[in-house]
């Protein structure tokens, strides 16, 4: 596993079903949570890029065309996951990318706001492998 600028981590994975593995962008300002979500996604054979802010996520999305899913923490400084979600859904280039929100707090109004804005799902932390499998299987099939 190698590091890229901005706290990113790239993990290569074996192809899922004969094709290239899905490229998932994980966004979390916590280095611990980035490592955990990256580990969970890698074990599910996804290719993962992890960044530490919404700003870096948008920079990467602007430069790469192969991100197939975004999973982002809700509560981040400067740009929340909700604000990142809005920017993705407002972009003609990015709006088709499914976005999953993670949060350590189970706040119903927060959850419904994200889902109304177009999030595919909302995971309450700590995120477990079974949560990721459930959500990704539903979103990707």
């Amino acid at each position: 596993m190698s590091s890229v600028a901005g706290g990113g981590v790239v993990g290569a994975a074996a192809p899922a079903s004969g094709g290239a593995p899905l490229h998932v962008l994980a966004v979390d300002d916590s280095s611990v949570d980035r490592a955990v979500i990256s580990g969970i996604l890698r074990s599910s054979r996804f290719r993962v890029t992890a960044v530490d802010s919404g700003k870096r996520a948008l920079e990467l999305l602007g430069s790469e065309n192969n991100v197939g899913m975004i999973i982002t923490d809700y509560w981040m400084p400067e740009m929340t996951g909700y604000e990142l979600l809005k920017k993705v859904k407002e972009s003609s280039k990015l709006k088709q990318i499914p976005v999953v929100i993670m949060s350590s707090e189970n706040v119903p109004t927060r959850i419904s706001r994200c889902l109304e804005e177009g999030a595919e799902d909302f995971l309450v932390k700590p995120v477990r492998p079974s949560d990721v499998s459930r959500v990704f299987n539903r979103v990707l099939h």
């Binding site: 916590s30 611990v32 490592a35 955990v36 580990g39 074990s43 700590p126």
Partner: protein
């Protein structure tokens, strides 16, 4: 020392961490991810990040509480961050200490926060010691292989 003996010691130590409440089920989830073979060294990596993070945050909270005027919003943010990372690695006692901290900073109770920080710091130190023993045993087992 024999690897089998060391493995038994390691298993007993980890079991005692669960029994004493240092660890919860989230740690088992991380262990399973490592055991499936896709991420060797994953647990050590994540716990290492947590221990560094926690040490930094505990220090930041101490500095905040030492100010003439305490910024309780920043204390809130720090405790929230530590609660999140401890939850993600399964460090249960640290997580619970963070939860107990909340009422004090919500009340803007500086003395209460100082007390809660002392508890949090002790739980973190105990958790760290236990993790260090775990990793030392793992290293000894690896050295036997």
């Amino acid at each position: 020392m024999d690897a089998v003996v060391l493995k038994n010691q390691l298993n007993a130590h980890v079991a005692s961490m669960f029994t004493a409440g240092f660890l919860d089920n989230q740690f088992k989830e991380l262990q399973m991810l490592q055991d499936d073979g896709s991420s060797p060294g994953f647990v050590r990596e994540v716990v290492g990040l947590f221990l560094d993070d926690a040490e930094r945050i505990v220090g930041e909270i101490a500095v905040l509480l030492d100010q003439p005027v305490v910024d309780f919003d920043k204390v809130d943010a720090c405790v929230h961050q530590l609660k999140g990372s401890s939850s993600s690695v399964g460090a249960q006692r640290v997580k619970l200490s963070c939860s107990q901290f909340r009422s004090y900073y919500e009340e803007k109770n500086r003395d209460g926060c100082i007390m809660a920080l002392a508890v949090l710091r002790n739980e973190f130190y105990d958790t760290r010691s236990n993790f260090q023993i775990m990793f030392q045993l793992e290293q000894q087992i690896e050295a036997c292989s």
